[in-house]
Symmetry: C2
């Protein structure tokens, strides 16, 4: 099973921010890939199970950012 979902993350300003978001989201159980487009804040997460919004939100918050 492979699930892909795209979120919008606010507050990222540079490549370091992108790395932080990727790192935290990659640690969520089942996540197999994270793509970020800095300019738009689009964060696409691929996972082996459906993720709860809470989990994604918590990881993004842990990185220091927020979901739009």
């Amino acid at each position: 099973m492979s699930v892909t979902a795209t979120y919008t993350v606010t507050g990222m300003t540079c490549g370091h921010c992108v790395s932080s978001v990727k790192e935290e989201l990659s640690e969520v159980a089942g996540v197999t890939g994270v793509d970020v487009v800095l300019e738009t804040g689009a964060v696409t997460v691929t996972s082996s199970r459906e993720l709860a919004q809470d989990e994604v939100e918590a990881a993004v918050k842990e990185a220091g950012y927020a979901l739009a």
Copy 2:
């Protein structure tokens, strides 16, 4: 001997950028302190000897930024 000089660094957008600049400048021989004001790009470097502009520029560049 303690020398304090302030430079303007462009391109820093967040706390990660500040950390990168501080880290690289701290590695320059003789540097004892680095203060950064993100909003203005002001970087104040304290050192035990006079630093060459080249050294400061190289460290800032290494961090991924530029002197104004």
